[in-house]
């Protein structure tokens, strides 16, 4: 006992030595775990604090390492987009360019990792923006697909979610359950029905084949319904007693309260469709109509110097949304998270 009292004021390591001073019989009589508990119980506040501080330091280092790994690809893309064409060819020629240099530029055997360009130039951007229209067309394609899908999916979903949230019933619960199952189905499953209907309607190969399934995707309905169900029901009832019609309740009371939810869901839909690959591959046959997400991978080896600049241009919109709406994104993820409500 006295040993322990002494140990109070010293570091845990010395405390250990006091433990070893206990006779073997006594040591065997209690489990090692209870000993460890015992040790901690005698921790003074200062040793605990010390340990916590050490732990915090260790965790900060881990976080920094993680952060470096997470940021590296993005930063690399960004900084390399300011390099001159010859520098990019020199650095990455070993990968992409098999026959473009004609011996004029030095092509290193392996890739050089360079974060800082020798000379900062906007010439790649200028080329992309003013001299190679095909990238802009593909970029525009992406916008043309994504914007209507985000807007109209949200519109259809607002109506439907209101329908789900305002009055509940057994039938509706059942339908909502079906929506959840549809949301959880991977593209490998849903694309087949999508294709069958689109070919039946004769819209395969047109933009409608991407738009319509996107607009009616049950994803936003599922998310927004969960959001709306948190609005106190008494608000609707009060409005109803005051003589508001359903449309008024929907547009004047429900929608303004859902602004945050709409923003969160919009970001999630945007990410998903900005990156779509499966749908265009199956539902479009004309490569002219492909969005940038598919097109950039088919970049010409001769144009590799443009790749980083195009990638950055492609990244700008999502990054802006992210920086302005990170909290909405987090909120959206959390709403998606409460699968069981």
């Amino acid at each position: 006992m006295a040993e322990h009292l002494n140990a109070n004021a010293v570091s845990p390591r010395e405390e250990n030595s006091s433990v070893s001073a206990v006779s073997p019989q006594e040591y065997n009589s209690v489990s090692a775990i209870s000993y460890r508990e015992e040790e901690q119980h005698y921790d003074t506040i200062s040793t605990r604090k010390k340990r916590e501080r050490r732990q915090t330091r260790r965790r900060t280092i881990i976080a920094i390492v993680y952060a470096f790994l997470f940021l590296m690809p993005t930063v690399l893309t960004f900084t390399n987009s300011f390099m001159t064409a010859s520098e990019i060819n020199a650095n990455y020629g070993a990968i992409f360019a098999s026959n473009n240099s004609g011996g004029k530029v030095f092509v290193s055997q392996t890739v050089n990792l360079k974060f800082i360009p020798d000379m900062v130039t906007f010439s790649q951007y200028a080329t992309v923006l003013f001299k190679s229209p095909e990238y802009l067309i593909k970029f525009w394609n992406s916008v043309i697909y994504v914007v209507p899908i985000v807007i109209f999916q949200l519109f259809v979903a607002s109506l439907a979610s209101y329908g789900f949230a305002r009055y509940r019933g057994k039938v509706k619960e059942l339908i909502f359950f079906a929506y959840i199952i549809l949301v959880l189905m991977p593209y490998q499953v849903t694309l087949v029905p999508n294709y069958l209907v689109s070919s039946g309607l004769g819209i395969v190969g047109t933009r409608w084949a991407i738009w319509l399934p996107g607009i009616f995707s049950p994803f936003a309905v599922y998310m927004l319904t969960k959001y709306m169900r948190r609005i106190p029901y008494s608000l609707y009832e009060a409005a109803s007693i005051d003589g508001a019609g359903e449309w008024q309740i929907f547009s004047q009371i429900c929608m303004p309260l859902c602004r945050g939810g709409l923003a969160s869901i919009a970001i999630l839909i945007f990410i998903d469709y900005w990156n779509m690959v499966e749908q265009p591959l199956i539902l479009l046959d004309n490569e002219e109509m492909y969005p940038l997400s598919v097109f950039l991978s088919r970049i010409n080896t001769g144009e590799i110097s443009l790749a980083f600049a195009v990638a950055v241009i492609y990244m700008i919109l999502p990054m802006l949304f992210f920086l302005y709406g990170e909290d909405y994104l987090v909120e959206g993820i959390l709403y998606q998270g409460g699968i069981k409500e």
């Binding site: 901690q40 993680y66 952060a67 990968i95 329908g163 087949v192 990410i271």
Partner: protein
Amino acid sequence: MVGDLDRRLRRNAAQAAQADMQAAAQAGMRASARAGARADAISRGSSGRNSKKGRFSSWLFLAPSLVGVGLFFVLPFGLVIYYSLINNPVQHRFVGLHNFITTWNNNAFMLAAKNTLFFSAIAVPLAVVLSLWLAVIMESRIPMKSTFRTFFLSPMMVPIASTILVWQVLFDYNGLVNGWIGKLGIDKIDWLKSSYAPLVIIILFLWKNLGYNMILFMAGLSSVPQDQIEVARLESASEMQIFWKIKLRYLSSTIMFVIIMSLINSFKVFREIYLMTGDYPYDPLYMMQHFMNNTFQNLDYQKLSSAAIIMALFMVVVIGLLLMIEEHLGRDLEV
């Protein structure tokens, strides 16, 4: 000495029992609150019944979505089932499970199914463990927390095309990673065309998805009742014990959800693989969606339909199982 310990242990046990009772009482209170909510719901139902007009109009609100979902997802899925049961779209002869058996015995399908399963079986647990680790780190008192959150979440917003560009730079035969290991005297590896190929994709998957999962886990961790943790601390439980015995128990539903989401996202990894390697990648990278794509190209409706149905059944069974496990784990918890 031993007697002292003994006494302490016994006291611990007694206090633990007390804490249990407290928790039970709280649970009871929550249950009664829930009953109250149910009563509320019932009264809500009756008020709905009073206004038939409102009830009808709520169906009008639902109509556009119902029509769209019905037209693009539900009805054609019926068609998919129909196609999976007939011999071909011309003769419409009913052949039972014949199509499923042919698809199942198809080499490409088997390869795709095996690869996809293998990938998910490795990537999903890794994603869960690593993102939980990240969330625990983020839960402690590290400086600049929100900046770190932004950093960890940022890969989610990096468009796929930008990602694969970097991955090509990293893992090409003449790429960065080979340059690094070359300095260590290791031979170059053609990453995407070797048995290491799934590893490259798993790293990409983790890079992209850890932030998303981390957010869910952070929310889960912050909803663990603080009083229980404090009691445990007073009882001199170690941080490890608190994590394994308390926090993890309360996280069970979050873990299940993260597993489900990671599983779904792991099926989306086709995007990256396709953009890096095209229609016919090295064998271990041939995924379910590759099979679907290539089947789409010759429009074999029978094969497509049965593959889609097999996959749908698989998802329903797996998600059902996960939810059942979660129910089982969480039945004595009231969060």
